[in-house]
């Protein structure tokens, strides 16, 4: 059946996200929280995360444009970002956050800039993957036919 195939596909994609290190255990926690009361819980959380963190990204970009760099502020922003990213289990994004914080502490402006580029890349990649994942989930899943809130 198409649905079965979809579900299998879904499972594979999901597994690869873990295998490739995009997601960690926290994502599973979210999945476990999903229930009848909140059938789209995971998707809602991810959406919330991307909405909230996009603002953070803007703040960080602004902070990175200042000269000289305010490392304390940057560190604080990164701390926030890291905390946020940990909420959905965005493993690679989190790792970049940690790296960026290291550079902040070291006072390395170049390091910060480079790492931030890397971070944005991971952030965007994950977003795309999750969007595709949820879209598929909606197709494959029996109940979730609601439009994705944007």
């Amino acid at each position: 059946m198409e649905k079965t195939q979809l579900r299998r596909q879904l499972a594979n994609i999901r597994q690869s996200l873990f295998d490739q290190g995009f997601l960690d255990e926290q994502f599973v926690q979210l999945e476990e929280l999903q229930d009848d009361a909140n059938p789209n819980f995971v998707e809602e959380i991810v959406t919330l995360y991307y909405r909230d963190s996009s603002r953070l990204i803007v703040s960080i970009e602004q902070a990175l444009q200042k000269s000289p760099l305010d490392f304390n502020k940057l560190d604080a922003l990164m701390h926030q970002f890291k905390g946020s990213s940990s909420s959905i289990g965005a493993k690679k994004v989190k790792a970049e956050c940690t790296q960026l914080r290291e550079y902040c502490r070291a006072g390395s402006g170049d390091g910060c800039l480079r790492t931030f580029q890397q971070l944005k890349k991971e952030y965007t990649t994950l977003r795309k993957k999750l969007e595709a994942y949820f879209q598929l989930a909606r197709q494959a899943g029996p109940i979730d036919s609601a439009c994705r809130p944007k």
Binding site: Q29, L33, G83, S87
Partner: protein, 552 residues
Amino acid sequence: MENGFSSPRSDVFPVGLRVLVVDDDPTWLKILEKMLKKCSYEVTTCCLAREALSLLRERKDGYDIVISDVNMPDMDGFKLLEHVGLEMDLPVIMMSVDGETSRVMKGVQHGACDYLLKPIRMKELRNIWQHVLRKKIQEGRDIEGHDVFEGLQILRNGSDRYDDSQFLRVEELFSVRKRKDVDKYEEKEFGETCSTKKARVVWSVDLHQKFVEAVNQIGFDKVGPKKILDLMNVPWLTRENVASHLQKYRLYLSRLQKENDPKACFVVGMKQTDSSLKDGDGNFSVCSSLGVPQTDVTNSSFSFLGDNFLHNVDSIGCEADRKRVVQEQTSEPKRAAATELIKTRCTHMKFNNSFASVESEGKLVACYPWVEAPQMKLKQESKPHQVQINQLPSVSSISSGRSATEKDKGSSIESKDCSQQMVHLNPPKPPTDSFSGKAKSFNEINDHFEPISTATAPLGVKNQNVIDLSSISTDLGSGFPFSSFDEDLQGYLIQDGCYPKNLEQIIEFPDYGDPGIFTEGPTHLYDAMRFGYEYSYDPTEYPVIDEGLFIA
């Protein structure tokens, strides 16, 4: 304790536990809400610390526990933590993605029951009810000061080492008091306070109000159980009741003060046996600034909040490590550190001294209560609501008898940051003045107590925990910035390994403001300790404290 907002759980505890979650991250807020709901808890969320505080104040008994993130835009999580502990005396759990030991330590020092690292697992949240239970038990013990004290005496005399488990201690204490009461207590609903279990004085709001009025009337620095009792004019109340309540009150205040001035908090506890002065059996926590090489921080909880305090006091003995950690305060100007002298084995005897925090200077300063005191005063002036109390002689009263006054002065006087509704202490003036006199006395004291005055291992304190005492003396004159509470800066001295040994005696530092005390010599230490309970009767100088503070 129900005010109608949310009734106590009618189901089996911990079902329906009322949790308030505070986090500026909306994603986490949602996740936590869901997790807590899955635990069958009743959840309220908010993303601003101030909002949380107003919610808590609105419904004082509306929540059982608070979970808060450390980093929030409008208010530092630690500050919120202090406020909650002070005003509502609820257990608070901190959360952060940052698990650095120093941060965790800070959380514990500020009174957090627990510190969770993000990402948080469901199973961690399932267990939070333990903190609620523990707190209730502690409260019960607090109220029943007498019993606790006796229990402590028994414990103290009876054991050499202490179990790390606070619960064990709690049970020990309970067994001293009455086992059945405890069991009953633990089983019943948590809608009631422990105090109602026994035929004890229940300090109702009205009664406490009278108490506070009496205290204010007398003048906090002159307060004593007898005077209070007379003023209160409550026929059925005994001097002992008042005394134990006064003790608790002082502790509460000192905790407030400590919270207000996190930087300045030093927890000092001293336990000494007769020989301690000489052979170093005594344990006392020396406040040290950052420089102190503190390796073990096991029971930093020891310095916190009043109720915890009792709990901690008990565990002080068993806690091998007490550290005073000075938080990073690079950006902060020097602030007075609230030093708290904690008597380890006497719950009712808690001293809270605020000492200037050294952190800001990055200096290592061993904070001995009596030593620090003078410094504190110097800075106190800068902040009116600061602890003058702190400065007050929380040095343990070495002199027999007067210990109470001295100590009392220092201990609960600490007031919390008055910015909110707390206690409004008299402006630091009086302490300041007294301090100048005291400052000198400290030097005398230092000289007088040889073991203490040595930089390294005074009173048998392990070297590693003792920062250069002599430096303290010299610093005394330097005028430590004893500014108002700096939430960030809260140092608690944690003694390393000294405690478990001899808990027979606790050294109370006499009011350092009174040089005469020190000259009495170490022998008085033990006496003072013994009568620790008594010394609380003689007030020396207490700043007036706003009644609002202590409303349960």
